[in-house]
Symmetry: C2
Subunit: 208 residues, 2 copies
DNA sequence: TGTTGGACTGAACAATAGTTCAGTGATGCG
DNA sequence: CGCATCACTGAACTATTGTTCAGTCCAACA
């Protein structure tokens, strides 16, 4: 049990980090153990030495990723529990801002985790769902939800808006020429998202 | 150039159809040419004979899929161009209803197309975007959009709600125990979706 | 100093992948 | 009948994959 030394990462750590990037970019199956080894400057044998198999490495990378995600949902807002749409969006924005450097990689990895339909991808979804549901419940308790709003679907619809931004970002990039997470675009999305949740898209029916 | 005979599909057609199902279920890479051959009751060689390569078969399956999608967007509503959120949702509902039998396969294939980030997956996205955008423009022209609604993001957010329902349905199944496309659940989602687009989730601010 | 243990190597291995191609059988045409 | 064409076969081939393992190196410890 050697202590973690931060100065120069050993082969094991380099493997996890480069695998995280490569899996996110190209997908698990498309990355060979030789790709991983040469990108990490280690030999092929080291993967099986440390992780038993390529799948073992994947599990290690998943844990590495979950740690960041966990921190985002719990550690992110230890005291401030969001109870308005603005709070909720702010928490998520803060998380994104905190991970700005490797945000594209995180998004890409998240994408694949969700779309590959794995068990742990489901656990990610479930955890996120719990977070959104709790927020909606608090909004409800403080009278911020209309009486006819569907309490079952609203959390899912909110998740779709959030996760859709992540999952479809590659296509946004191709349609608009830049990522939906680019500063200006993201702020605009934030406002549009907020407005939709709050008031919908119809003109306010003052005349009724 | 033999005419298409409907009675008993030849090896080529059987290959495309079973490949469509298997690719949707397990993903392109996870399906071997031997799987495809035995599931279609043909020999391995036939794939390369007809399609040149496994990738050639994929292209044929993609075209097969696009044909259905195309029919959904254009053929679905030849005359009726949607210009209200209700119209829009109705067109999509009709499409889904029309493909009820193989809807799960279509959803699964769509998922994989998105995940793989292929050019044609992008063209699907783009085409759908064009459809939604046109609808939003018509809504705008007939005064159904609030003045402060973001015209750039609204179509994307609407797409996220629609596509999210498709892409995340496997998780809905695991959270709620049944598909979001089950009749009762779907109708409820339809209303919740409509309400969100129209009025948002906040209680109507009549007192203001 | 000798020895133990763990990180690390890389050639060799076995399994599996997609592809090739010589050959079969049925069909239609002259 | 002879010939050409076409869908189709399946054993053989080649490339690539993940895995194994005997062996190297080096730091820690007695």
């Amino acid at each position: 049990m050697s202590q973690a030394q931060k100065d120069s990462p050993d082969g094991r750590e380099r493997l996890v980090r480069t695998a995280f990037v490569l899996f996110a970019e190209k997908g698990f199956d498309s990355v060979t153990v030789r790709d991983l080894a040469s990108a990490s400057n280690v030999s092929v044998g080291l993967i099986n030495h440390h992780f038993g198999s390529k799948d073992g490495l994947r599990e290690a990378v998943d844990e590495f990723f979950i740690a960041q995600f966990e921190d985002a949902i719990t550690g992110a807002a230890p005291q401030q529990t969001p109870s308005t749409p603005e709070d909720y969006a702010t928490v998520i924005d803060a998380w994104i801002a905190r991970h700005e450097a490797d945000w594209p990689t995180i998004v890409a990895y998240f994408r694949r985790a969700l779309l590959e339909e794995s068990d742990w991808g489901f656990s990610l979804f479930q955890r996120f769902y719990g977070f959104v549901q709790a927020t909606v419940n608090r909004m409800d308790a403080s009278g911020q939800l209309g009486p006819d709003v569907d309490r079952l679907w609203l959390p899912f619809l909110m998740m779709y808006l959030e996760l859709g931004t992540m999952v479809f970002d590659p296509y946004i990039k191709r349609v608009l020429g830049r990522s939906g997470y680019d500063r200006e675009l993201w702020q605009r999305r934030h406002r549009a998202y907020m407005a939709l949740i709050r008031r919908g898209a119809s003109p306010s029916r003052e005349g009724l």
